[in-house]
């Protein structure tokens, strides 16, 4: 088992933790952080799995760069929405009708 494969499996673990956090938590910022965990886990799988034979491959590295930028944009949009929502209502979760899922 090469080191890169360990990264990939760690990424899988992060995804699992992120998904459980997203489903179980109700505070909006924490759910956003859970998303970022899932995103980081996915990027780890992308670079780890593709390069597990030890040969550096620029394509997944470029894909991860793109993915990070897209994740930043989405996270920033979510943060702005959450900030304005909090400013208008004083609430930090969507759980008005009791469900924590999307």
């Amino acid at each position: 088992m090469s080191p890169e494969l360990v990264y990939a499996l760690a990424g899988v673990g992060l995804c699992g933790i992120g998904v459980s956090g997203f489903l179980l938590l109700s505070h909006l910022l924490r759910r956003l952080l859970a998303f970022n965990l899932i995103g980081s886990g996915t990027f780890l799988v992308l670079v780890g799995l593709a390069q597990h034979r030890g040969v550096p491959d620029p394509v997944p590295q470029a894909l991860v760069l793109t993915g990070i930028v897209v994740a930043i944009a989405a996270t920033a949009l979510a943060v702005v929405l959450i900030r304005r929502y909090f400013h208008l209502t004083g609430r930090t979760s969507l759980a008005e009708d009791g469900d924590g899922r999307s």
């Binding site: 799995l49 949009l77 400013h87």
Partner: protein, 233 residues
């Protein structure tokens, strides 16, 4: 108790999901080597205009992804400016009172700007490039904001919108220039790839820095409001 059962079920489901994913990863790793993409890439690197293969992939081979991704950034920035309804930039409560940071800024800012320029230049043949440099530029702006320096250039107005869209617009113009010259969309005319990539990266750095900074810095209060359709006046 019902909640505890729910939590347990969710955790069990996530654990099994993790197990399935791990099995998939191991199965994919155990399979025979995939297609010969890496060799094709190494063979074409010379014609791409840069020596760093990641930059070549980002700004030449898969430049359409990069173009759309800049679009995504611009969307987030637009949504940020249009929604932000927090206190004004000039609100004294939001300005930092950290005089140490304010004093250190006169050392930090030139160094960070130099670092951003280095990262941009280095992207040609070693790790670096527009995104990294843009992120450092944005971090510089954030430090300035935290240190209490006035930042008029991020006040929403024509100048800010121009800064946001400049990188994207230049990239798009280069893309259509290639098509006008008879090649495909986003293709660089032969021999000009290196210079065009550098030009695109420079404006991209400025734009990305501005976008990330605009997302961080609050915009002035918008006092207007629009009721939901069919309710109110």
């Amino acid at each position: 108790m019902w909640r505890g059962l729910q939590v347990l079920l969710t955790l069990a489901a996530c654990a099994s999901l993790t197990g399935v994913l791990a099995a998939a990863v191991l199965s994919a790793a155990g399979s025979p080597p995939p297609s010969k993409l890496a060799e094709q890439l190494a063979a074409s690197l010379g014609r791409s205009g840069v020596e760093n293969p990641v930059t070549a992939v980002l700004l030449n081979f898969r430049s359409y992804d990069t173009l759309l991704e800049i679009g995504v950034l611009v969307i987030a920035a637009m949504a940020g400016i249009s929604l932000a309804r927090t206190r004004s930039l000039e609100d004294p409560e939001l300005r930092s009172a950290d005089t140490l940071l304010h004093a250190l800024l006169r050392w930090f800012i030139p160094l960070m700007l130099l670092l951003a320029a280095y990262l941009l230049w280095a992207g040609g043949d070693r790790p670096g490039g527009a995104f990294q440099a843009g992120a450092v530029l944005a971090a510089t702006g954030v430090l300035m904001r935290l240190g209490g320096l006035p930042m008029d250039f991020v006040r929403p107005g024509l100048l800010l919108r121009l800064g946001l869209v400049l990188g994207f617009a230049v990239f798009l113009l280069v893309a259509i220039a290639g098509a006008m010259a008879g090649e495909a969309f986003l293709a660089y005319p032969p021999g000009t790839a290196g210079g065009l990539i550098l030009a695109i990266e420079v404006v991209l750095t400025l734009s990305i820095g501005m976008i990330l900074l605009a997302l961080f810095v609050a915009a002035p209060v918008i006092n207007e409001h629009e009721p939901e359709e069919g309710t109110g006046s």
